[in-house]
């Protein structure tokens, strides 16, 4: 006899699958209307086509149509016409300072610099110094707080200027405004420390959320008893048991990402399923009737979900577990695919923007793949090594039985792992730009170990309230299991070819991306599949901007990394780059300079030095480099590629520029100059630029220090020289396309200028 879940889903009745499809189509239709109507009509066309293909859906068309229309309307209200969006647009037209009062709507997040950020539910807004209130509706904004420490549920007031969240400044960086917008936030307030905000009252938030936050902090403390803080082990334990990764060391999750085991930190179905089993057995133990056990288990599950922060995966699992438990009360069982679709439908009904969340997409695609594929894959694996089906089982020897049983268990684990890998393939490619082959093996070992970590964590939490000593004992045991897990993951991440970054196909001509690192320096040259880099920025720049850019471009190895100056803002990111990529040739200046981080890198990294000053060499096919001033801690580079010449001047002090003045004009001539103008003497630089005769100049702009911000006069001065200025505080990254037919320099941010380097366009620089 077959179980209902062993039957092909095509032979099952799955009413929620159709409704979910209609809901998704409705949301995409409504969402597309705000982008371009053509998207909406394409969505509608696809939906009708699918309906047409499903002959049996004929009778359900009215229900599907109503669902489509209802979700399109809900999403239109949630997204296109939300009060938060409308007031953000009003603020765009009415800039100025406003007096704001509201309630902290989420647990404040502390940045490394100590600034608290949180979403605020606004109660009233008034222009500064005026009495009248212009809005009093449930609007959410992001606040970068300055003032007394605040918690969830505190009522606060402050005076600040509203602004739009900053868009990503480099390719590959996270689109923070888009992420905030999907959470109903379109405006941010950055408080001036000289005018701090005030707390008016406390305890106004949702009591359940307040309790959940309190419970989470308590659980974090219990799980940390007797363990080193902060550490990778504690980070992993808290991540697996509570989904909290904020306290983990920076870069800690990278190996989990590369090995496709990131889901262990997502408080997924594994966690919720285990909690559901524990709860069910507990209620049965105290002899609670079945219906009451169901009634008690469901709220308890959602309490756990709220303690772990309402993650998409845990919400999905809790909804599925609740439907399964309700089925026990009604003597009913649903096909698992229908239950999955029902959970997705309910989650979308609660928040239509969930559809665009990476967590939602990961969670549902992985579970769907497991439900559809794990069983046939397991069957196939089992048949590779199983007893002859015509042989009576009693004729098997004991070792044979054990061998076949172990193989069957392995097949079950491997099939789930393989199915989950297939399910996560597309979202991993879209969001992480990689395919992880090591995920197949890593999950086989990591999932049972994570189950052990979760079990020991649960035991620690259960006993922590009674005895800290017992909880400590469990934590120490957990330390060992977690260490094993980390070793497994780290070992898998080191496997050659274990993961592969996939990006868009490279252009047939060289492209240089000058990253905006707020004063630090880094450029990535892509020439076909060859990648060359100039400078590596600071350590945090590498983690936040350089690595995401390289990964999104599908870079898997770096040919040459040329460092133009021995200081932390030019080579601080090398260790991070070396951790994630193979660098064939690291070229450093001859002098390590005075910077401690530079000295550390000079002594720890295998490297070569620049050739003799003025020598030309090929850094990658069709890209020629020439270095000057190679005897000091700074180097000036001249790159020639596809008819475009770039001069990279790393220092603009008088001594460094004096070295350039002695060079012949043909050695200096360049179409583009990269040079920090902050703190540079205008006369000296202008004199040099007259000799170089560039068409454009890119200047990095730092966030701190007077010398790192060039004056506004430069735009006019350079305009007189016929040079288009790309200030990176206005342009973000700058991209030079070396297309022989149409070489262009363009800004990453839409407001920045664009310059075509063709002779006929020489006189037409200007903003896009």
């Amino acid at each position: 006899m077959k179980a209902a879940d062993a039957v092909s889903p095509f032979r099952q009745r799955l009413p929620f699958a159709g409704l979910l499809l209609a809901a998704i189509a409705g949301i995409l239709f409504s969402d597309g209307l705000s982008v371009s109507p053509i998207h909406s009509w394409i969505t509608l066309g696809c939906f009708v086509l699918i309906l047409g293909c499903c002959g049996s859906a004929g009778r359900s068309i009215p229900a599907l149509g109503i669902t489509f229309a209802a979700f399109a309307l809900i999403h239109a209200w949630d997204w296109n016409a939300s009060p938060s969006r409308r007031i953000a647009e009003w603020w765009d037209r009415h800039p100025g300072e406003y007096e704001v009062r509201g309630v902290v709507a989420q647990e404040p997040h502390s940045s490394p610099s100590g600034t608290l950020s949180f979403a605020l539910r606004i109660e009233s807004i008034a222009p500064a110094g005026e009495e009248k209130t212009i809005a009093a509706s449930p609007i959410r904004v992001m606040v970068h707080w300055s003032g007394d420490a605040v918690e969830y549920g505190d009522q606060v007031s402050f005076r600040a200027v509203p602004s739009r969240p900053e868009p990503p400044r480099n390719p590959g960086s996270m689109d923070y405004p888009a992420w905030l917008a999907r959470h109903g936030i379109f405006t941010q307030f950055r408080l001036d420390p000289s005018v701090p905000g005030h707390m008016i009252s406390q305890g106004l938030g949702n009591p359940l959320v307040r309790f959940s936050i309190m419970a989470r902090h308590w659980a974090e403390q219990i799980l940390g008893i007797d363990l080193e803080k902060p550490s990778a082990v504690l980070g992993a334990i808290q991540g697996i048991c509570l989904g909290v990764t904020e306290n983990a060391p920076e870069g800690f999750t990278e190996e989990f990402r590369f090995t496709g085991t990131m889901h262990l930190f997502a408080v997924s179905g594994l966690h919720v399923g285990m909690v559901a089993v524990i709860l069910w057995f507990f209620f049965q133990l105290i002899r609670l009737p079945r219906v009451w056990s169901v009634a008690a288990s469901i709220p308890s599950l959602f309490l756990y979900v709220s303690v772990t922060g309402f993650k998409d995966g845990s919400l999905r699992a809790a909804t599925m577990a609740s439907l399964f438990l309700l089925g026990l009360a009604f003597f009913r069982r649903s096909p698992p695919v229908n239950t999955l679709a029902a959970a997705a439908f309910l989650q979308l009904a609660a928040d239509t923007n969930s559809l665009f969340s990476a967590g939602w997409q990961f969670s549902y695609s992985v579970v769907l793949a497991i439900l559809l594929l794990a069983s046939p894959i397991r069957h196939r694996i089992v048949t590779w090594h199983c007893a002859d089906p015509f042989l009576p089982p009693r004729l098997l020897t004991h070792p044979e039985r054990i061998r076949f049983a172990i193989w069957a268990e392995f097949a079950a684990l491997a099939s789930v792992s393989f199915a989950a890998w297939i399910g996560s393939l597309l979202p991993t490619l879209v969001y992480f730009h990689l395919i992880s082959f090591s995920a197949l093996g890593a999950n086989l070992a990591a999932v049972p170990l994570a189950f052990g970590v979760l079990s020991l964590g649960m035991l620690s939490l259960l006993t922590g309230g009674i005895s800290a000593w017992v909880a400590g004992a469990f934590n120490n045991a957990n330390w060992l299991v977690t260490k094993l897990l980390l070793l497994t993951v780290q070992g898998s991440a080191l496997l050659p070819g274990g993961h592969w970054f996939i990006g868009p196909p490279p252009k047939p001509y060289p492209v240089i991306t000058f990253l905006d690192l707020r004063g630090a320096s880094c450029a990535v040259i892509r020439n076909g599949f060859c990648t060359t880099m100039i400078d590596a920025g600071r350590k945090r720049d590498a983690e936040r901007s350089i690595l995401p850019m390289l990964e999104s471009a599908g870079v898997n190895r770096i040919g040459s990394l040329l460092v133009t100056r021995s200081d932390a803002s030019h080579l601080g990111g090398i260790p991070s780059l070396r951790r994630d990529f193979r660098i064939r040739d690291l070229v450093l200046p001859s002098d390590p300079g005075k910077s401690p981080s530079a000295r550390a890198i000079f002594s720890s990294q295998v490297h070569s030095t620049y050739p003799k000053s003025g020598t030309q060499w090929e850094v990658s096919p069709e890209i020629l480099a020439r270095s000057f001033l190679a005897e000091g801690d700074a180097v000036t580079l001249r790159l020639c590629m596809a008819g475009v010449t770039v001069l990279w001047v790393t220092r603009t002090d008088d001594a460094a520029l004096a070295h350039l003045e002695v060079l012949a004009p043909e050695d200096l001539r360049a179409d583009l100059v990269v040079m920090p103008l902050g703190g540079a003497r205008m006369e000296t630089v202008c004199a040099l630029l007259r000799r170089i005769a560039p068409r454009a100049l890119i200047t990095p702009v730092g966030g701190f220090g007077r010398n790192s911000i060039p004056s506004q006069e430069w735009t006019g001065v350079l305009g007189d020289l016929g040079v288009t200025l790309f200030r990176q505080d206005q342009t973000g990254a700058v991209i030079l396309s070396g297309d022989p037919k149409n070489p262009t320099i363009r800004s990453w941010l839409p407001a920045g200028p664009e310059l075509k380097l063709n002779p006929e366009n020489r006189e037409k620089p200007g903003p896009r």
Binding site: D5, R11, F330, F331, R332
Partner: protein, 250 residues
């Protein structure tokens, strides 16, 4: 057509909505093969597809009128031979083989509580048997499990079946019996061992109505020893008539 009361008029659409929601979240599917079933289907058609329903075999035509033991080519029932029964008859719905056997095993040993509904639906078949025609019963009584076994299993399968039968027929379910000691599982014992195993295992939990007519419920009957032990207790306490229905006869 009788007029609906005010309460019924309010409750009726709510019940219909509840039914629609139940069918959405728990769409009807065949309990044997798992394939889809038409949402409008009723009775056995709401829990089994047509091919599977055809595979559920009714008890053999030539059977003992008392214990339903197959009697093809026999004059005397080997199961009843020399035995004094306390109940009138044991009526099974179908044979204990194929899909039904798998369902009962999943229900009892796999703790798959969702099997209660299809097995309860099958049980209704037994009530249409000619031996129970024209009879009325005062109570539906499930064969009890020992509390320890019930805790292990999480439920008493006979109790769930009796509850469903009571809901369908309107005959009140009464837990009249109690198992006083844990008995070894009957499966694997012969007739005499089964009877020995059950001696003094059941007692009455509450007073019987005078001259009560009782319908005993269990999932499977093989020799009928358990049902007869229960009937003996009920008879001793004054029950006038006792019949038993089971899902399948082993």
């Amino acid at each position: 057509m009788p007029e609906q009361s005010e309460g019924e008029r309010i409750l009726s659409p709510m019940r219909r909505l509840g039914g629609i929601l139940l069918d959405l979240f728990y769409p009807p599917h065949c309990s044997l093969c798992g394939c889809r079933i038409e949402a409008e289907a009723e009775g056995e058609g709401a829990v089994f597809c047509e091919p599977c329903l055809a595979d559920i075999l009714p008890p053999p035509e030539h059977r003992c009128p008392l214990c339903s033991h197959p009697m093809a080519g026999l004059m005397l029932c080997p199961n009843c031979d020399g035995r004094h029964w306390h109940l009138e008859t044991i009526v099974p719905s179908c044979r204990y083989e194929g899909g039904v056997r798998g369902m009962i095993q999943r229900f009892k040993y796999g703790r798959d509580i969702a099997m209660a509904r299809p097995l309860g639906t099958l049980l209704l078949r037994a009530l249409r048997d000619s031996r129970l025609e024209g009879k009325t019963f005062d109570a539906v009584v499930p064969v009890p499990l020992h509390p320890k076994r019930e805790r292990e299993r999480g439920f008493n399968q006979a109790d769930l079946l009796a509850r469903l039968l009571s809901r369908s027929t309107g005959i009140p379910k009464q837990d009249l019996l109690k198992r006083t000691r844990p008995t070894a599982q009957q499966a694997g014992f012969d007739r005499s061992h089964r009877m020995e195993n059950l001696r003094g295992a059941f007692v009455l939990r509450q007073q019987l109505p005078p001259d009560a007519s009782i319908l005993l419920i269990d999932d499977v009957s093989t020799t009928g020893a358990t049902l007869d032990a229960c009937a003996a207790v009920l008879k001793e306490e004054g029950a006038a008539e006792i019949a038993a229905v089971v899902v399948a006869r082993g």
